[in-house]
């Protein structure tokens, strides 16, 4: 226990208040204010992997590490689409996930937003569309914002989340 406490104290609070990475923290503060103003509460996100290679997932998971500390500013990844305001969809949509993705979107209460993450979600990426892949997320469900990159950095994903709900 003492070791654990001592490690916590020695680690301190790492959440970034000044860059680096460039502008990430400015985004974070702006985002927090926007959240309060517009939603008046936390933003709940449900992630759906619709056929991704698992690369984008690594960067989405990174958003929860102490540097980005997403929960600290009121953004939460939730376990059920029924609790979500926003779907974060990765991957080219595989034919085998098409139905599951549509059903997940149906389960999200209105109003709902969709952000397609990564080159694959934006345009099909290196996989393109074929007998097993429908290509971009927009080919299957309505998308409000895309964030390109392979994989996009956590800061880029954060910026897309901020801009999409400020705009809509």
């Amino acid at each position: 226990m003492l070791n654990t406490l001592s490690r916590m104290i020695r680690t301190g609070i790492l959440t970034e208040t000044i860059p680096p990475p460039k502008a990430a923290s400015a985004q974070v503060e702006g985002l927090q204010m926007d959240l309060r103003k517009i939603l008046g509460r936390a933003l709940c996100i449900r992630h759906v992997d619709a056929g991704s290679c698992n690369g984008c997932e690594l960067e989405i998971q990174a958003l929860n590490n102490p540097y980005y500390n997403l929960e600290g500013i009121g953004i939460k990844f939730v376990a059920s689409p029924r609790h979500a305001d926003l779907l974060l969809v990765t991957g080219p949509v595989s034919a085998n996930m098409e139905e599951a993705l549509k059903r997940t979107l149906d389960a999200v209460p209105n109003p709902k937003l969709v952000v397609a993450v990564g080159d694959c979600g934006a345009c099909g990426g290196v996989f393109g569309s074929n007998y097993a892949s429908r290509g971009s997320v927009a080919n299957v469900i309505p998308v409000h914002r895309t964030v390109t990159g392979c994989p996009p950095s956590p800061a880029a994903i954060l910026e897309a989340i901020r801009s999409v709900f400020v705009e809509y």
Binding site: N54, E57, E59, N64, N65, S94, N96, Y131, P151
Partner: protein
């Protein structure tokens, strides 16, 4: 050079590969008989793939690669001519072959003599009569979804009920379906259904040039990008007969070890979290972020998707990188050792880790466990140790194993492999061969088959590459070790409580995308 390796009288000629690899052509009878002999000689089934060569000689072919302590043996079985030929199943001898054979059927329409004919990769995304990897199938065709219920094996009895989980999971993870049959809290049976992320990777390879294929290989499983792109390039360099320069091999290994470190750090954090110890997740995810930021400054990217390229690597380290990498390793070691002590001495965590999800060595050997999961159950096998391809031949990597086969053992293997990887990284920086980072890799002549094998963080990844005319890819089969290890989970889970499934599953941390292709 023609050399012969003898496995109980089975002769083969050399196959182009980064490891010592032999090649044997057999008929249907020997396909099965030899598999039995290979098993008796200690061989493991590494991968199985099909090919449509009807345009050449009217035949389909089925290939199997077996791994031995000192070599790899590839068997080719040209099948009888005909529209829907069959071949003897290997699943009785190597149980992990079952899912592979079902997939070969879904993609080629060639059938093993195995009674389980449920679609594995085909969920209704294309009709039953369509076989996407046949050469006369146009890959750009799309079909409306026709999803049929999947007949899971039912468990009946007083108080037995089913829990269906997935494909969309609660968390930022990949999609798959788990069907539990439970009594109270206890799991009686688990059946997996995978294939949700099947993206037609093999068909896509055939539209690409040999000089582009590494980009797709890297994205078969994004957490193993270096391993797969290296395996692809190793296969290509073998058939193009262009070895990669020494310095490039060192840099590839450095990137591969960083990939191993990043994944192990991430897993150790997630395992702590799944055992109710959020502190572990916070600490390890911070260390993982530190590492990928170091990647960004040393290799130019947080995740190294396009670092390994045909002939070498895409960028050299900046001048000051070795210094900052060495500093980073010191901090990493200090952090990991203090967290290891905390994990080891935390009664609550150890209570969850110990005796959860036990895979006994005997079962692991029987079912063909490989990679990290195998090593945690006493299966001592690591390509870097057994078949040290450059630069590992100069590094003498140490094998890490545990014998208990429970979650705790898989945690210990990760901790030990972190220490070993850091040691290897230091050696790589110290020896740092000078010279070019990339050789000019020409197109491989048509009709050559090569095999690339690399020990990724999960285990051995395999790429079998056959060249077509004018720098095209005729066939490319990429195999993730998750194929072998997914079925093990079905054996390990029964008897555990439902609430331990996420923890046990995380301790395996298998790939969905790498498996589904």
């Amino acid at each position: 050079m023609n050399m012969t390796v003898d496995f109980s009288g089975l002769a083969g000629q050399e196959l182009l590969s980064n490891l010592l690899c032999t090649y044997t052509k057999v008929g249907a009878l020997r396909w099965h008989q030899d598999a039995e002999a290979l098993r008796a000689a200690g061989g493991r089934l590494l991968t199985l793939w099909g090919a449509d060569d009807r345009d050449r000689d009217g035949r389909f072919r089925i290939y199997a690669a077996y791994l031995f302590r000192d070599s790899v043996a590839v068997f080719e079985h040209p099948m009888e001519q005909g529209a829907n030929p069959t071949y003897p199943s290997l699943a009785e001898i190597f149980p992990c072959a079952l899912h592979m054979e079902r997939s070969v059927h879904d993609l080629f329409g060639i059938t093993s003599m195995e009674p389980d004919h449920r679609g594995w990769l085909r969920h209704g995304g294309w009709p039953r009569t369509v076989f996407p990897l046949r050469r006369d199938f146009d890959g750009s065709q799309q079909f409306p979804i026709d999803s049929q219920p999947y007949p899971f094996v039912q468990v009946e009895g007083d108080g037995v009920h089913e829990i269906a989980v997935g494909p969309v999971h609660a968390g930022t993870i990949e999609p798959g379906h788990f069907r539990f049959s439970v009594v109270g809290e206890k799991v009686l049976r688990l059946e997996e259904r995978l294939g949700y992320t099947h993206k037609g990777v093999s068909k896509r390879f055939e539209e690409m040039s040999q000089m582009e294929g590494h980009r797709l290989a890297a994205r078969l499983s994004g957490d193993s990008a270096v391993a797969f792109s290296w395996a692809y390039c190793a296969a290509l360099e073998a058939i193009a007969q262009t070895p990669c320069p020494l310095r490039a091999a060192s840099l590839r290994a450095l990137a591969l070890e960083h990939e191993r470190l990043a994944n192990h750090l991430g897993d150790l954090g997630a395992l702590g979290n799944d055992a109710g110890f959020a502190f572990g997740l916070t600490q390890f995810s911070r260390m993982k972020e530190d590492l990928v930021r170091v990647n960004a400054s040393a290799f130019g990217a947080r995740y190294l998707f396009d670092f390994v390229v045909p002939g070498g690597v895409s960028v050299d380290l900046p001048e000051n990188a070795p210094r900052s990498l060495l500093d980073h390793y010191l901090a990493l070691e200090e952090g990991v050792s203090s967290l290891r002590a905390i994990y080891d001495n935390h009664a609550g965590i150890q209570d969850r880790f110990r005796d959860a999800g036990v895979l006994k060595q005997e079962l692991a050997e029987k079912l063909g466990a490989i990679g990290l999961v195998g090593r945690a159950s006493g299966v001592s096998m690591d390509l870097r140790v057994d078949h040290p391809y450059p630069p590992y031949d100069r590094l003498e990597p140490n094998l890490v194993t545990q014998s208990r086969g429970d979650v705790a053992a898989r945690v210990q293997v990760r901790f030990d492999e972190i220490s070993e990887s850091v040691r290897l990284c230091r050696l790589l920086l110290e020896e740092s061969a000078s010279g070019p980072i990339r050789a000019d890799c020409p197109f491989a002549p048509p009709g050559r088959l090569g095999l690339g094998l690399i020990e990724g963080w999960r285990g051995p990844v395999v790429v079998a590459l056959e060249s077509g005319p004018d720098g095209t890819i005729r066939r490319c089969h990429a195999h993730d070790p998750s194929w072998q290890n997914w079925p093990l989970l079905e054996y390990v889970i029964p008897g555990n409580i439902v609430a331990d499934f996420p923890l046990i599953n995380k301790s395996f941390n298998l790939s969905y995308s790498g498996h589904d292709g």
